[in-house]
Symmetry: C2
Subunit: 151 residues, 2 copies
């Protein structure tokens, strides 16, 4: 069908810009850190609030099996974000706390922005959970400015 000719040099309005590829790549890698961010923030919440973060609690809050939570906690440890001795609960390292604070702040801004543009509370909370991991610093700053100015 001549539909697969060797690649002609130019392709009209859709050049194969590396820009686009890099955007997708960024979105992919963001997704990979998302889980760690969720864990770290949740652990921080649990520690601040109840004094301890136990795998079972974490698992229940995240809606996964406890084995899954434990496995991910292992990854947290490997990445230097958390410490945990067997049967002794999970704690955050300096790096973990820092990350948690950043993530929590970002989450708040995202939710507030969604509310400011008229998203209902329930949807705002729910969608923010997924959205926040893809909000870059630049975008976050813009959100903050928008909120300060008008919201």
């Amino acid at each position: 069908m001549a539909s697969i000719p060797s690649r002609p040099a130019v392709h009209g309005a859709l050049p194969a810009e590396p820009t686009q590829a890099s955007r997708f790549g960024k979105a992919r890698s963001a997704q990979s850190s998302a889980l760690l961010e969720d864990y770290v923030e949740l652990i921080s919440d649990l520690l601040n609030d109840g004094g301890e973060a136990r795998p079972t609690d974490i698992a229940r809050r995240l809606g996964v099996a406890h084995a899954t939570a434990i496995k991910t906690i292992g990854r947290l440890k490997r990445e230097g974000l958390a410490v945990a001795k067997p049967y002794r609960g999970v704690f955050l390292t300096e790096a973990g706390e820092t990350l948690a604070a950043r993530v929590r702040a970002r989450h708040r801004v995202v939710v507030d922005l969604l509310l400011a543009v008229g998203v209902p509370l329930e949807a705002a909370e729910a969608d923010a959970e997924g959205i926040e991991h893809h909000v870059s610093d630049v975008t976050l700053a813009a959100f903050a400015t928008f909120l300060k100015r008008g919201g």
Copy 2:
């Protein structure tokens, strides 16, 4: 992203609300359809623009190896979103076209909203790529309303 941050936290044990778990679960499953959505939209773009969608182009645009693209195209076929005969390019089914249209519309609204709240173009385009997959219908509607209102 533990969702209790913006409000005064309950002092005492955090309740193990199923709400939170379901939010995380939703974010997780959204992430799973995200890839398919990206592929479908890109294929639609390529078809509309150049008349054909070839695995190599798709791979380059997404920034992945061609083998990866081919594997995912296989998944698209399994899910009834695309058709492809070996060495003959990829085409969308009715369902695929429908999905593509929906995804494209959503993408536009998300970018427009980001721009409307002051996010620079580059960041808006880049972040939208990740954000759009987590924007629920309710939130999308709110975005549209905000934009129409002259946001």
